[in-house]
Amino acid sequence: MKSESGDVRAEGWICAKCGVALELLPADATYMGSSFQVDLPRCPVCGLTFIPPDLAEGKMLEVEKLLEDK
């Protein structure tokens, strides 16, 4: 699940708890009983996943709709 321009970016954001920069790491995304792995910006220490608005309203919404109509 990538944004149109390629990798999902988290320009300038750091994990507030751990204070470290985010890294593109595999994450399990789940919806409607389906689960799949995607590279998303995550905190390398605590694993918190970052979702930017263009991803939430773009590709992510598209995949949600696809899974809903499956």
Binding site: G12, A16, A27, T30, G33, M60, K65
Partner: protein, 779 residues
């Protein structure tokens, strides 16, 4: 879904029925397609239509005498479209098609006589690879040429003969059909056709051992394998007889009864409904030389074809028009989607976008009701766990909020132990017009004998519209319980959707419409009419309640308010887009449906359903509610914006608080109504509305972030990004904290997919009470 439901709908929708020209043509030539291509100057395509339906089209096209013309629907306005002229022009000026015979089948048949029925039969059998021999006297086709000398141009008959030769049809010339020859033919051929339209076979039936010609439909005679027909009928009927004989002979060769599966071969009146109200008379086009009409003359005549079609519902409903077809096709697509085990369920969005308003059934001559069909489809989607959670979750959560003890309440009229009536304003009216609803209650309490209680909650129609019968029943039970505790008052309903819900789900509760009630009371002192004429918009939920539409009109009359009916009103009214939760499940289609009203009038709309008022106002129309006339507030109520999703909920809470205080002198024990802890600009507020994020959702994220710590920080901008998944949606809020401890929200968005690390309880929602559980199992 029960197949019977599909078949019932399919049988009611006539759009796929043949036009009258086709059903009444002995050859069933599709005159509608043919005339369309001719009118559009697509002559080769027009020719292809003839080739498809007519055996030996280059011959038959000249022999048609327009048996369809008296049945042409244009004939009800002036005269039927002159298809024979069109066929003649087409055959004269276009290239004939090529018949591609199938490989030789090893079967053979002998045809006695070379009339049109024999030639057409030879053509049909030859195409199928059957070896055909025509036994004839004189020149082949001689009798036809003589009978049709004034119709056939030079070369038409020889062209047909060439086509037959190309299909390997052989010709055997005899001097006479003598009794000996007849006996020989009978003896030597297992399959024999007697073309009685050839005079050479006159009075020869007995020589073949027959007393009667063949059956008019199958052309079978008393002797198996012997077929006969074509006598004493028009050319086109003879051509049809030849084709039917081909059908019988093929069946006979396969060992199937020639009479099996012959439905629709004879002429029949069509069931296709066509609205003729807008058909204007157009004089028929005469060809300068009737024997050689030009393509231009034919195209002009073809343009008189009204292209018979029903589409009565498609013309009036934006939902119908949007998906490019008509009920019969939609029903099949929906049925197929419901029956799918795996794969893309393509009709889901369509099923959930229908307003269930019943306009299609009202305008359909046979009452085909896609609304009812979609409502059933939704129930099945829910029960088979295929209903997307996103379709109705927001609307159902909103309903649950309206029915929660924090919002819903019942009180007797102050000073009464029992009440004969209770005002049930519904959930939307108080949230949209809180002050007027309060005044309405005071007015009714003052003017009705026996006490008027106040009953605030949602009727639970959203549960029903979303296809959840269990949730519907449990919500209805909750309502019934409060009503019983209240001493079973008769409910006065302000909202026609509530009335529809009560009659279907709570029939034991006596109800009365507010509009009937007001008819029996004096007008409030405050009532005023507006200048000018207002267009009355009737709600679709009262489609079957002409009495209520009348009550609204008589109220307007008493008010001195000038009104006019919209082109689609009363039983034929349009839905505002709110019906069936269309605006929630598919905002784009819902808004398109709302906008349908835009073209109907340039007047301000006067509504008696508040949902209509809000939806039509949101679609950009000037609209007001009757309460704006009975208890006027602002100067120009037609422009008052419809409250957004958050304002509505906040208004409901404020309304409850104000009502309890003003009428019952109670301080509301329910918490809430705290001052807002954050600010945002108009653009962000619009985003919240479009993404259906409540201000209370944003607050939850902010409070959680403040208490448990933020998730992300941007050191350059100093902003914070936090998320929370209180239920089945993850909300993200980008904000900054101000020096005074308040927050400024810069953006908010949401998604339904789960990713690791998101805090929140992920609680089940109203959707999960019945239907698909996004976790993959039932709760």
């Amino acid at each position: 879904m029960e197949q019977a439901l599909l078949h019932d709908l399919e049988s009611r929708c006539t759009q796929e029925e043949a036009p009258a020209c086709r059903s009444m043509c002995p050859l069933h030539v599709d005159g509608r397609d043919f005339a369309r291509f001719m009118g559009e100057g697509r002559f080769d395509e027009a020719r292809a239509v003839l080739e498809r339906f007519m055996p030996l089209a280059g011959l038959c096209a000249f022999l048609c005498q327009g048996e369809c013309m008296p049945h042409c629907r244009r004939a009800e306005t002036d005269t039927g479209v002159n298809l024979p002229m069109l066929e003649r022009a087409c055959a004269l000026h276009s290239r004939p098609g090529k018949a591609m015979p199938l490989p030789a089948s090893g079967k053979s048949a002998t045809l006695a006589g070379s009339g049109l029925s024999s030639l057409c039969l030879a053509f049909e059998l030859g195409k199928k690879g059957c070896k055909v021999k025509i036994v004839h006297t004189g020149e082949a086709g001689q009798a036809l040429a003589a009978r049709a000398s004034d119709l056939l141009p030079r070369g038409a008959l020889s062209g047909a003969m060439e086509r037959l030769l190309a299909l390997r049809v052989s010709f055997e010339r005899v001097d006479d059909f003598s009794p000996d020859l007849c006996a020989t033919l009978l003896r030597e051929n297992k399959i024999l056709y007697l073309g009685l339209d050839d005079p050479a076979l006159d009075f020869r039936l007995s020589a073949f051992g027959l007393e009667h010609p063949g059956d008019p439909l199958t052309l079978e005679t008393a002797i198996p394998g012997i077929f006969a027909g074509g006598a004493g009928i028009s050319f086109i009927k003879a051509a049809a007889a030849g084709r039917r004989a081909a059908g019988s002979i093929t069946r006979f060769m396969q060992g199937v009864s020639p009479s099996s599966a012959r439905a629709g071969e004879e002429v029949y009146p069509t069931k296709l409904f066509t609205d003729l109200s807008r058909v204007l008379p157009v004089p028929p086009v005469e060809a300068a030389d009737p024997k050689t009409p030009t393509l231009a003359e034919a195209a002009a005549e073809a343009a008189r074809c009204i292209q018979c079609s029903c589409l009565a519902c498609v013309e009036k409903c934006a939902w119908m028009a949007r998906y490019g077809a008509y009920p019969k096709r939609y029903a099949r697509e929906i049925y197929n989607t419901l029956a799918m085990k795996v794969g893309h369920r393509r009709a889901n969005a369509q099923i959930n976008s229908c307003t269930l308003c019943g306009l299609c059934a009202a305008v359909c001559p046979n009452g085909a009701d896609m609304g009812r069909f979609c409502a059933e489809a939704r129930k099945e989607m829910v029960s088979s766990r295929h209903m997307p959670a996103s379709a109705h979750e927001f609307a159902l959560e909103d309903m649950v909020y309206s029915n929660s003890p924090e919002v819903a309440f019942y009180r007797h009229q102050p000073g009464h132990e029992r009440c004969r009536y209770a005002l049930f304003p519904g959930c939307r009216l108080p949230a949209s017009l809180p002050e007027q609803t309060g005044k309405l209650y005071a007015f009714l309490a003052r003017n009705l004998e026996g006490g008027v209680g106040f009953f605030f909650r949602c009727c639970s129609m959203p549960a029903k519209w979303s296809g959840r019968p269990l949730l519907t029943a449990s919500c209805a039970a909750g309502l019934r319980e409060t009503w019983e505790e209240a001493g079973r008052p008769e409910l006065i309903l302000a909202c026609p959707a509530c009335a529809l819900f009560f009659s279907a789900e709570l029939a034991e509760i006596p109800i009365k419409s507010l509009w009937e009630t007001l008819a029996a009371l004096p007008l409030p002192d405050t009532a005023r009419a507006l200048d000018g004429v207002l267009a009355l918009h009737d709600p679709c939920t009262a489609r079957d309640r002409p009495d209520l539409a009348e009550a609204a009109r008589s109220l307007a009359l008493r008010l001195g308010q000038k009104t006019e009916d919209l082109p689609l009103s009363r039983g034929f009214t349009r839905c505002c887009g709110y019906g069936g939760l269309s605006l929630f499940a598919n905002p784009e289609v819902g808004a398109e449906i709302s906008r349908s009203r835009l073209g109907d009038t340039d007047k301000d709309l006067l509504c008696w359903c508040v949902m209509c008022r809000e939806s039509l106002r949101s679609a950009g129309m000037r609209a007001l509610h009757f309460l704006d006339l009975l208890f006027p507030g602002e100067k120009d109520p037609a422009v008052r914006p419809a409250p957004g999703i958050s304002t509505r909920q906040e208004n409901a809470l404020a309304f409850r608080r104000a009502m309890l205080q003003n009428f019952w002198n109670e301080e509301d024990e329910v918490a809430g109504m705290e001052p807002a802890i954050f600010s945002m600009d108009g653009e962000v507020a619009e985003k919240l509305e479009a993404r259906r994020i409540l201000r209370s959702d944003v607050e939850k994220v902010l409070l959680h972030s403040k208490e448990k710590g933020a998730q992300f920080r941007n050191p350059q901008s100093g902003r914070i990004l936090s998320c929370l998944r209180p239920k089945q949606v993850t909300f993200w809020v980008e904000y900054s904290e101000n020096a005074d401890g308040s927050f400024t929200v810069h953006n908010a968005y949401c998604h339904r997919m789960r990713v690791p690390g998101t805090p929140g309880e992920g609680l089940p929602t109203a959707v999960i009470l019945e239907g698909f559980d996004p976790q993959g199992g039932r709760v």
